[in-house]
Amino acid sequence: MQIVSIFVKDDSQSEGLHAFSFDDEIEEFSRIFKLWRDTKYIQDYLNQNIENLESGYYKYSSIDEVIDDIRNQAISLQKLILQYAENGFNTKGDNLQMLFKPLDNRESSIPLHQETKAKPDKKEYKKPIIRLYAIRIDANTFILTGGLIKLTERMDQCPYGIIELDKIKQAKSFLKQQGIKFEEDLDNYYDL
């Protein structure tokens, strides 16, 4: 397992966004966006999770509409992240914490070492279907653990969500081994 820099503040080697590589080949940021633009992967994924899709949690009228939405939301999220990378992210009201919110919707602020998620802009998409997951290890410093096409209300309601939760646990365990201290260790995760 390795940590790869995605982008950092000009005068820093660490403050910014990083991503885990679980296979020591590709980091999660690139891997996840690669999947979200892979039409066959999305079609297979939706076919495998058709019951969740039909449950009515999301109001899509067709598979085609879901695929378009996933692709469009992924592009929107990339644009947002490019903005942070290019225009800076350390000014008041424009830090990375604006993008990465607590994984648990019931928390209004992010304590240090908290699990977080990023979604496309809510002004553009009322109910975003994709998520990026990251661990905040310091002010303005996040390490991405993965992402999900979230078809259920809670992450632990689908196998892919459970995999992502497991990756967060693995990532935290790795960070602890590296001497990164966690003030808390949540056993339960929510992504409502």
Binding site: Q2, I3, V4, S5, I6, F7, S12, Q13, S14, E15, H18, A19, S21, D24, E25, I26, E27, F29, S30, F33, K34, R37, D38, T39, K40, Y41, Q43, D64, I67, D68, R71, A74, I75, Q78, K79, I81, L82, A85, L112, H113, I137, D138, A139, T141, I143, Q178, G179, I180, K181
Partner: protein, 148 residues
């Protein structure tokens, strides 16, 4: 020691992310990638519905590699019109359609008439009438403009 400083010491020196180039490519080429994805979805559905055909057989039928068919199904291949036509014929279905435009609507419904004043009567000629600025030669039909 702050967590930030510790992270700095364990950041990978061997893996370099290409996320920025990839994101910029996606944004720059959004439109044709959308076309490619739509074609991929149709190929996927046709293969799904045809028990006698799969990616491997389709590749063999077209003399393409299975890897290339797999790449096409990802929806990020800039397909040529020739490739789209070959795939379409092999699968026995159209993969793209063309929207109606002014020359594809019914002639009787067309509103693209050339108005010609002849005495006090206005007449209209069909759109494919050959005309020039001072000389109008109706080739097919002449319609009574008032009734058109």
């Amino acid at each position: 020691m702050k967590n930030n400083n510790k992270i700095e010491s364990i950041i990978s020196k061997t893996i370099v992310s290409k996320w920025k180039e990839e994101a910029e490519f996606q944004i720059r080429n959004e439109k044709w990638l959308q076309y490619s994805s739509n074609i991929a979805r149709r190929i996927y559905a046709l293969l799904e519905d045809n028990d006698d055909m799969n990616q491997r057989k389709l590749a063999a039928k077209l003399g393409m590699s299975p890897q290339y068919i797999s790449k096409i199904l990802k929806g990020d291949t800039n397909l040529s019109l020739e490739t789209i036509a070959i795939l379409s014929e092999a699968l026995g279905a159209e993969l793209i359609a063309f929207p109606s435009y002014k020359y594809s609507v019914s002639v009787t419904q067309s509103r693209t008439f050339f108005k010609v004043i002849k005495g006090n009567n206005a007449i209209a000629l069909k759109a494919n009438t050959i005309c020039s600025e001072n000389n109008v030669e109706p080739v097919i039909n002449v319609y009574d403009y008032a009734a058109a």
